[in-house]
């Protein structure tokens, strides 16, 4: 990487700066449900850039960025005014401002390009970004603006946090929420200006939304979310820059966005607690446990009806109890045998001593729950089985003990079947 050209180094720096400031600010935009606003302000910046060029005739960063800033601010004011003084709702106002400003911007852009000397303006780079055109002046400006954004967020962190969580309460405390909102919007516009040349107005919303959305999956603390988001943003920016440096036909802006999106997708899938994979695995685990407990219960009940809880039950009979296929049953039975809760002899299964105790525990939960439903909720006894089939897997030992105490240690369930006492069965099991 010492072969990084001067330009490539600029791109790397600029993209990373953008990633960090976008990632930090994006958290607040995301939590305030203002991601779309960021997009609107970015699109609104286009006519400002063109006007900056037209008025000063130069393509140096400062006038263009100032133009973008002014246009962005004008756009947000228009949105505010539209919502305050007309019947237009906020999302429509955002859409309108986005399209109108952008439309004006495209018209101006085309006009500039058609004018003499305009072809050299290269202003269309602001649509999709042209990071390769970054010069040192640009990077310095980006660094200053990013530092401003980060310093402001650090200074007003608790105010932004409260504003995002509960603006009404904030107002009741005396915080000037109008002014804080304006400040936040200004920061949003600033980040847009930072990212204009690297990513362009069309895609810059991604640098605000994507790292923040990805970070949200990994933590339940705002502070951590901001740091993770900044890191993801920086990573996406840097890798985007490096990738496009090594493959000259790849444009930097879109690659940065793609990297950030990949991180987002990975986060949605693999993050602990919130991730889809996590949830699916947890669900599989629970389903497995339920199947095992059901088989234990079936063995117990089949034995009970024979008058011998530990009797060998033929597999076809077990299959018939719940309509399970042979392979299904075999798959459920194997772990039980492995754990020493059941034993197999030919085409029949029976509970071991330990299995008896475990099975009795499940049956106990089922029957206690049925007593609760019939006695306390006064449901008819033919309505309670289905519910108990679900609850027997969900109740924990503490809840069961409490339930037993609450009901006065009942001996039989609503269908006259005995409720197993686990202590008695432990003795029975030990005897085997």
């Amino acid at each position: 990487m010492d072969a990084l050209s001067f330009t490539a180094r600029n791109v790397l720096l600029g993209a990373t700066l953008l990633g960090v400031s976008g990632g930090v600010l994006g958290c607040f935009a995301l939590l305030r449900r203002q991601s779309l606003l960021g997009d609107a302000l970015a699109h609104a910046a286009l006519p400002g850039v063109c006007l900056g060029f037209l008025l000063t005739g130069s393509k140096s960063p400062l006038p263009l960025f100032l133009g973008a800033l002014v246009a962005g601010v004008a756009g947000s004011l228009f949105i505010l005014a539209a919502v305050r003084w007309s019947r237009v709702k906020e999302d429509s106002a955002i859409g309108i401002v986005l399209s109108v400003f952008f439309g004006v911007g495209i018209v101006l852009l085309t006009w500039v390009q058609r004018s003499p000397g305009g072809n050299q303006s290269g202003l269309d780079q602001f649509l999709f970004g042209q990071a390769a055109a970054l010069v040192t002046e640009d990077v310095i400006l980006m660094a200053v603006l990013s530092a401003l954004v980060l310093a402001t967020v650090a200074a007003f962190y608790k105010e932004f946090k409260l504003l995002a969580f509960d603006p009404e309460y904030a107002a009741s405390l005396g915080l000037p929420i109008r002014r804080i909102e304006i400040l936040l919007t200004l920061l949003l516009v600033t980040v847009v200006v930072v990212g204009l040349q690297t990513v362009g107005v069309v895609l810059i919303v991604a640098t605000l939304v994507t790292p923040a959305a990805a970070a949200r999956q990994w933590t339940e603390r705002l502070g951590a979310m901001v740091l993770i988001s900044a890191t993801i943003g920086a990573f996406a920016g840097a890798s985007g820059a490096l990738v496009s440096a090594s493959a000259p036909r790849l444009p930097t802006g879109p690659v940065i966005v793609l990297v950030a999106s990949a991180v987002l997708v990975a986060s949605l899938l693999f993050a602990p607690e919130r991730g889809l994979l996590w949830a699916a695995l947890a669900e599989r685990r629970v389903a497995r446990r339920i199947r095992h407990e059901n088989l234990l219960k079936d063995l117990y009940r089949a034995g009970e009806s024979r008058g011998e809880p530990g009797a060998f039950i033929p597999v076809p009979e077990l299959m018939g109890m719940r309509g399970q296929s042979a392979p299904r049953l075999a798959a459920s039975a194997r772990p039980l045998v492995d754990k020493g809760l059941a034993e197999r002899r030919g085409d029949a299964l029976r509970l071991t001593g330990d299995g008896l105790v475990t099975a009795a525990g499940v049956v106990r939960k089922h029957r206690l729950w049925e007593v609760y439903l019939t006695r306390r909720l006064e449901l008819p006894s033919d309505h309670v089985h289905r519910d108990a089939e679900a609850m027997e897997h969900a109740l924990d030992d503490v809840a069961v003990a409490e339930l037993d105490r609450l009901l006065g240690h009942p001996a039989v369930d609503p269908h006259g079947q005995p409720i197993p006492r686990p202590e008695a069965l432990a003795v029975e099991g030990a005897r085997r």
Binding site: E168, G174, E220
Partner: protein, 281 residues
Amino acid sequence: MISDPVPPPSANEADPEASTVTAAEKVLPAIEVHDLTVAYRTSPVLWDVDLVLPPGKLIAIVGPNGAGKSTLLKAILGLVKPITGWVQVFGESYEKRRSWVGYVPQRESVDWDFPTSALDVVTMGLYGRMGWLRRPSSRHREVAEECLDKVGMGEFANRQISQLSGGQQQRVFLARALAQDARLYLMDEPFAGVDATTERAILTLLQELKDAGRTVVAVHHDLQTVAEYFDHVVLLNMRLVAAGPVADTFTTDNLQRTYGGKLTLLTQTAESFLAKRPGGA
């Protein structure tokens, strides 16, 4: 977080500020509303409301849906601008008395999926005192923990708020207001949709606040419990129907006028309450 009961005015000569607060609390009405009219675009929400609420009482605001109850609270807090009229808190405008007022908004007003803990939310109640550019200190955290303990949520301090039940969330909001150590608490439906434990906890807290000389004004949704929980009631239906001590004001007649006479359940409620009074209805 509840400090000792309000001392008599003469007790604090050394601290003029303290005695001023004390005197104001005991003499001036907690809230005075004059000719208040609030509208949303062209529809009126509150109309010509005049109200004087005494300090040191537990006051309920009741009325049908859309009666303007929440709006009245927000108008007192300065969150909505009235078309006419004014509001005073302990004899001054709200802006001057801000540090004396603690607000407990409706639970639904907030997205509970926000990444923060219960302790964090309670600490927010202290932001008004911290000043710009300051971060919460360990002392602030201690105060917040005490407030959480006060509402029975001490062990949930580091719990993510989305994992709390409705009643627990309500108590967190209460703890946040307690952290402000206010003289006047404005609560928007604090008992709505909470479990029995929470209801008892809130009730105990309200009694403690009253014993400490604080004032509580709560929008209340449940007519069955108004007489039991509160001393003073405000009956509102865009206009003020009646306001005063529960015994005098919570009558069948007033309830009919507030609710438009369509609810026979109310008649039974009022009648059963009135029948319990010594001397009957």
